[in-house]
């Protein structure tokens, strides 16, 4: 007795989740590119692609519910399915944040740039590294890596503080910049949320391996 059908379905639903993760990573990269290059077409494409991420999230959820109801999974099988359910929700929300950035890219496309983009692309870079690393940690069931990635969240939080205060000073100096500066704060906020959600994925990796539920992301901020 090896339950080969069940094992195949369990592998497939995880594969679907990983494909979703790849799509979300692309979305984040594209949204920041659209912002930086003032590329309206790319921003629109990113927004359109989010619908597909949403659709896949429900597909993953439905497959998980089906596996739970028909196969009554236990132990590591159960923890895997619960993890997939949670991670797919986190990924879907990250996709929404990328969509949010793309929408701001559209709004800012006709405006002159406030300042050269330095900290925001840096934030995006770290957040993307975190997402990529958390997915790798999931694939390898690597709790050490998962914990390292959780620590990286402080870097993103630090950059967010910095961007926030800098943009606040812009607004104080010149109130006519308020709208553009506020948009930029939204962008930074979206990136901060994306990084935060990658730590949820890492917590699920720890749960999957160790069977313990913890809030591991105890931020300094």
């Amino acid at each position: 007795m090896t339950r080969s059908g069940f094992e195949r379905q369990l592998a497939e639903v995880q594969e679907d989740m990983l494909v979703m993760a790849g799509m979300v990573e692309t979305s984040i990269i594209q949204s920041i590119e659209a912002l930086r290059l003032r590329d309206v077409a790319l921003a629109r494409r990113t927004i359109e692609n989010d619908a597909e991420i949403d659709r896949r999230r429900y597909e993953v959820e439905e497959r998980c519910i089906e596996l739970i109801s028909l196969q009554a999974p236990l132990a590591s099988d159960l923890r895997t399915i619960i993890s997939v359910l949670h991670i797919s929700v986190d990924l879907e929300r990250m996709g929404d944040h990328a969509e949010g950035i793309a929408k701001i890219a559209l709004m800012l496309a006709d405006e002159p740039p406030l300042k050269p983009y330095i900290d925001i692309p840096r934030m995006a870079e770290v957040a993307i590294d975190m997402l990529h690393g958390s997915v790798e940690a999931y694939k390898m069931r690597d709790t050490k890596r998962a914990r390292e990635i959780i620590d990286m969240d402080d870097v993103v939080d630090g950059l967010y503080e910095q961007v926030y205060h800098e943009l606040l000073l812009f607004m104080i100096d010149d109130p006519t910049l308020t709208q553009r500066a506020t948009y930029m704060i939204w962008v930074a906020h979206n990136l901060e949320r994306i990084a935060d959600r990658t730590t949820n994925i890492c917590e699920r990796v720890v749960y999957l391996v160790e069977g313990r539920l913890h809030d591991l992301n105890v931020s300094k901020y």
């Binding site: 090896t2 999974p73 132990a75 159960l78 923890r79 160790e210």
Partner: protein
């Protein structure tokens, strides 16, 4: 028949126990000294009040060693499930708990099985009294070919249970969640009942002799899902007043009804069954510590 001294003491001390004082236990994590030392922390006995304390229990049938090295505590007024593949010795272990193995020729039990601190295999302990305190319900409902009333009253009568027999019958049938279905047909033959009703009648019969523990050997394996759920509900109900040990092949059933689960495994069918892992049911089914438990409950066994 006079119960032997030590057991009589046990019984009178039982009379003083209330469910209040026994419900406060906190799950322990202390490692058992386990007879087979290498078993280590996978076998963790609850630190609640103990009904059965087994130390290095083994059973042989003639030259065949069925189980060995079983060491664990079973808590009061909880449901403990014994799971494992066929031939792992779970039914043999269950039968150790009320000396049912005495009835099998060639069966030899080693180690100690303490029931409220008394080794039930001590020479001066009366097996009949043990079986009155520790009742049993079997896989296939086995009512007597008598009326419903007689089925329940029979055991009580021969065990010298005093009191109004009609009241005992009613109380037992109510406790077994059967009263409402049979109260107008008490003189009907028990064999006219459905399988699920017959099994609840057998539970009522076991309850009528006022036991402390009920052993159940796959009590739902011949019942349909509805009757099974009724028995499971009943088990949860009964554990407020009784200690229940259940052997089941149905993992979901163990997960639904038990507080603690013991997983057993044999080297080969019927030979040298051992306790692999024992702990709170939620832990066993969500995060077992032993790879062999994991493989069995996720269906990757064999």
């Amino acid at each position: 028949m006079e119960p032997p001294q030590s057991l009589a003491r046990t019984i009178s001390s039982l009379e003083h126990m209330t469910s209040e004082t026994t419900r406060q236990g906190i799950l322990g994590t202390s490692a058992e000294p386990a007879a087979a030392g290498q078993q280590g922390e996978a076998i963790r006995s609850p630190s609640e009040e103990t009904v059965f304390s087994l130390r290095d229990v083994g059973v042989t049938y003639g030259p065949k060693r069925a189980i060995s090295g079983i060491t664990l505590n079973m808590p009061l007024q909880r449901v403990t499930a014994l799971i494992g593949p066929s031939g792992c010795g779970k039914s043999t272990l269950l039968r150790c708990l009320n000396r049912m193995n005495d009835l099998i020729p060639n069966a030899r039990v080693s180690g100690t099985v303490e029931y409220h601190g008394t080794n039930i295999y001590d020479r001066n302990v009366d097996a009949v009294e043990v079986r009155r305190r520790i009742g049993m319900v079997f896989q296939k409902p086995n009512p007597f070919p008598k009326t419903i009333t007689d089925n329940v009253a029979f055991g009580a009568r021969i065990n010298g249970i005093k009191g109004n027999m009609d009241e005992i019958v009613e109380r037992s049938l109510r406790q077994a969640a059967l009263w409402d279905e049979v109260k107008d047909d008490l003189k009907k033959s028990a064999l006219a009942l459905s399988g699920g009703q017959q099994q609840r009648l057998c539970i009522a019969r076991a309850l009528a002799v006022q036991p402390d523990v009920i052993l159940m050997d796959e009590p739902c394996s011949s019942l349909d899902p509805i009757a099974t759920l009724k028995i499971e509900d009943l088990i949860r109900e009964l554990c407020q007043n009784y200690t229940i040990i259940i052997v089941t092949h149905n993992m979901q059933q163990a997960a639904r009804v038990s507080d603690y689960t013991a997983f057993m495994l044999a080297a080969e069918h019927g030979l040298n069954g051992r306790l692999i892992e024992y702990g709170p049911t939620t832990e066993i089914f969500t995060h077992p510590r032993d790879r062999r438990t994991e493989d069995y409950i996720t269906g990757r066994f064999g």
